[in-house]
């Protein structure tokens, strides 16, 4: 009864061509690189070899990196979950003033690249030269720093600031959707508020908390930027930073590639496990909360704590968002890093220099914009076709597509980059290493999942009968696609485009493994300038990146608001 339109065509043609094309794109771009990683890790001189893998894993360096990834990810997960849950509760279930504004502000960290944040915190809290540390040392005459950011604790704190929204979004959503009668009936049964919270509310939002914290774990595990900025200097490596170190220092020697692939395999397996766990948690949590409708939940009266809580939120936002952002712009305006912020030390020359004069930064901006644009365009288009086959067509073999489409969700950026190096540096006759093309291919692989998700969601809204109605009205298959399907999925396509374009603009993890002398991206340029001690230029470029990102985000918000009205 629900057979899709193309199945009605008796002879095979369009459907099979589309299917073949989709499979080909996904296999070449996504599957081959990932498979090559496993192949390289487990296959030595034509033989399956686990002993070697264990040998690599038991080397002190790799073992320590695995442990660090685990320590950091666990730490960030715990703190991020606590922070996210607390603020989610505060903005949904209490009479905190300006709740709506606060809710929006708590989502801002999602927009900001965490490695730029890490950069700011390094400027503020590095043990010797950090501005805050120096201020307190001078003020109180201390011998040592107040807080050393180059530590596990420092890295965990910075990552928490940028990852807690994962829990915040999920829990705030669940608390808002939760049927208040569940709590009211407990109240009628004589339970006090504390008991209700403990016995009713927390168990009901538990799946959301868990699913959010697993997302934090997934991202933190595979996170490159913060650890690279704050950890490498003092020898704290996690899996992605060690992969980076191995690939970069040894100029692609066999042993280092192998270590990289083994680490990447561990990362893929862990990530896949976390994804699986998250799906399970979400599936289990489904029945517990009545979804969709927005109820008016009962609010806790904060009474005397109302103003202090508001001040606390403002302080948190000021400390985690405003302070680092201001620091970036201020340092970007300094004549020389380390000078005090006085009027005669400030200048706009740095910004002018990196925007107009310096080839390196101008290249980086151009590379990021053109790469982001092309990747978004290609991935959006391919995503529509593949989603169409997955959602709408009844052809044998589309199960493979669904699997391949889901694959990138659990493949971290550094793994994709490594796989792309293995696949596209001459091994199969194509060598695009050190060119922008290899970054483009990697971006397409990395962001394909976003595109599939947005486009599938849009296509699922387009009921088959809408297309059939067009066919019955006299439209050919292509006319029906053009007049009915495309206009209806256009918002989904647009969403996919920006879901790719904006993250690609600030991308670091993938491009840092793939860049060549002239193919730095904005992220890479900020990172390498900082490494080379060009702190003020690094900060200035970061400032410009922030402006571009905030501008882009607000354009999209405007665009989608208009789109929804029309």
């Amino acid at each position: 009864m629900t057979t899709a339109v193309p199945a009605a065509q008796p002879r095979f043609g369009t459907a099979q061509i589309l299917l073949a094309l989709s499979v080909a794109i996904l296999v070449i771009v996504v599957a081959v690189p990932v498979l090559l990683i496993f192949f390289n890790a487990f296959w030595v001189q034509g033989q399956f070899n686990v002993v070697d893998v264990i040998k690599v894993l038991s080397q002190h360096e790799t073992y320590q990196a695995l442990l660090n990834s685990l320590i950091l990810a666990s730490g960030v997960t715990v703190t991020g979950t606590i922070v996210g849950t607390f603020f989610a509760w505060l903005v949904t279930r209490t009479d905190l003033p300006f709740k709506g504004t606060m809710k929006v502000l708590f989502l801002v960290p999602f927009m900001l690249p965490s490695f730029i944040g890490a950069l700011a915190w390094k400027m503020l809290l590095s043990p010797r030269s950090g501005y805050i540390n120096r201020l307190f040392m001078d003020l109180l005459g201390l011998d040592g720093p107040v807080f050393d950011i180059y530590t596990y604790g420092g890295i965990i704190l910075v990552e928490t600031m940028y990852l807690f929204p994962f829990v915040f979004i999920q829990v705030a959503g669940a608390l808002e959707r939760m049927d208040p009668t569940l709590e009211e009936s407990a109240r009628i049964s004589g339970a006090d508020l504390f008991t209700i919270t403990r016995k009713i509310t927390i168990p009901l939002v538990m799946p959301s908390i868990l699913s959010g914290s697993l997302l934090i774990m997934l991202y933190s595990m595979a996170h490159f930027g913060t650890v690279a900025v704050l950890g490498i200097e003092v020898g704290i490596y996690n899996i992605p930073t060690l992969i980076y170190e191995k690939i970069h220092q040894s100029a692609g020697s066999f042993a280092s590639i192998r270590t990289g692939t083994v680490l990447a395999s561990v990362l893929v397996v862990t990530a896949a496990f976390i994804m699986w766990l998250q799906n399970k948690v979400l599936a289990r949590g489904k029945y517990q909360i009545i979804a969709g409708k927005s109820f008016r939940p009962s609010e806790l009266k904060l009474r005397g704590l109302r103003v202090p809580m508001l001040l606390f939120c403002i302080a948190y936002i000021g400390f985690t968002i405003v302070l680092p952002t201001v620091t970036i712009f201020m340092v970007g305006g300094l004549r020389t890093y380390g000078l005090p912020f006085t009027a005669e030390n400030m200048t706009l020359d740095n910004y002018k220099f990196i925007l107009f004069d310096w080839q390196l930064t101008r290249d980086a901006i151009w590379n990021s914009v053109s790469l982001g644009f092309s990747a978004a365009l290609i991935t959006m288009t391919a995503g529509v076709i593949i989603s169409y086959v997955i959602v709408k067509m009844k052809v044998r073999g589309k199960g493979i597509l669904e699997f391949l489409g889901m694959l990138p969700f659990s493949v971290p950026g550094s793994v994709i980059a490594l796989g792309v190096i293995l696949a596209w540096s001459g091994k199969f006759g194509v060598n695009i290493y050190n060119t922008v093309w290899i970054i483009l291919v990697a971006y397409i692989a990395r962001y394909m999942a976003f595109s599939l998700k947005a486009n599938s969601a849009a296509l699922e809204q387009v009921h088959d009968s809408l297309v059939e109605a067009a066919r019955a009205s006299g439209a050919t298959m292509w006319q029906a696609l053009k007049d009915i399907v495309v206009p209806l999925v256009r918002p989904g396509m647009l969403a996919a485009f920006f879901l790719i374009f904006l993250p690609a603009l600030r991308e670091l993890t993938v491009s840092v493994l793939l860049y060549g002398p002239t193919t730095r991206t904005i992220g890479v340029a900020i990172y390498t300038l900082n490494e080379d001690g060009e702190t003020v230029y690094s900060a200035a470029l970061a400032g410009i990146a922030l402006i571009i990102i905030v501008f882009g985000e607000s354009v999209i918000k405007r665009l989608f608001k208009v789109g929804r009205k029309g």
Binding site: T3, P10, A469, A470, A472, S473, G474, M477
Partner: protein, 361 residues
Amino acid sequence: MADVRIAGLEKRYGDHLVLPGLDITVADGECFTLLGPSGCGKTVLLRLVAGFEAPSAGTVAIGGVAMADAAAGTMVPPNQRGLGMVFQDYAVWPHMNVTDNVAYPLKLAGVPAEEMRRRASAAVAMVGLGGLEKRLPSELSGGQQQRVALARALVSEPRLLLLDEPLNNLDANLREEMRFEIKALQRKLGVTVFYVTHDQEIALGISDRLAVMDASGRLRQIGTPEEIYEHPADAFVFGFLGVSNFLPMRKGADGWLAGAALAPWSGIPPDCGGDVCRAGFRPSDVILSRGGEGLDGVVQRASFLGSTMDYLIDVAGTPVRAAMHSHECLEKGLMFAEGEACRVSLAAVHWFPGSDAEDAR
């Protein structure tokens, strides 16, 4: 012209036979209904006629031209079959306003802009949506969207109109109203209509002829509404057209016995050519009395529904529904209470051979 000839039509999905060899002929200008329970394959049949599915065997011809022929490999795509179609969920395009929706078939046909506008607004007016031309579907009620779908299906003056349960999602009053309107439009335009539904009231009310299909996709009877209602071919058809009672009968040594408890039957002897059969009758054909002719019964449930009294009566171990006019019950003192005894006789009976289990559904 636009008659529809379906011959030996078969559809299978893999090993699953959905439609076993069907033969149906719909005359030009006729309103033909296919009536059957949910999931019997009637929508598949409609989709075969429309061209969204290809037959596994057999042929479909519209207006004397083969549209699909499994043996010859003919398969005319839906857009070349000259159809209008209304879907169960209306399938009104959400990004187009009423006029654009209705005008789309004309646009595809290459009708000049001026004529297109004129015909589209005539079609919109015809279904009573004048003044709502610029509305988007999201700003219309379900009934209005349904009218848009109908106008869109009729605007290009198709030779054949296919309707797939188009009234299902409407509330009862609207459903009745639309039923009359579709019938009136069909008469006015003379278009051939092929209507698929599981609602016997619509089928009886709208059709010139109808076919009753059972759950396995077989046709049980084709005929006018009167023929089918008055002379059902078998127990399935009788059971499908409204509330029905079946009283099992069995031939004993001294004559016929009725009900599960085998009470002696004193009425007209069954006429079904066997020793086991069933008496089929409507609730309205049950005559209740206090001590008159007929079988003994006990009232299990009595519901006052305004104009009628609805009784559930245990007759020799078999539950029987009876409906009587309330005023008649009041006049004749036949307002039974639950648990009261009564006498049951039957005004009109259809005799069906065999026992219940065999072919009721």
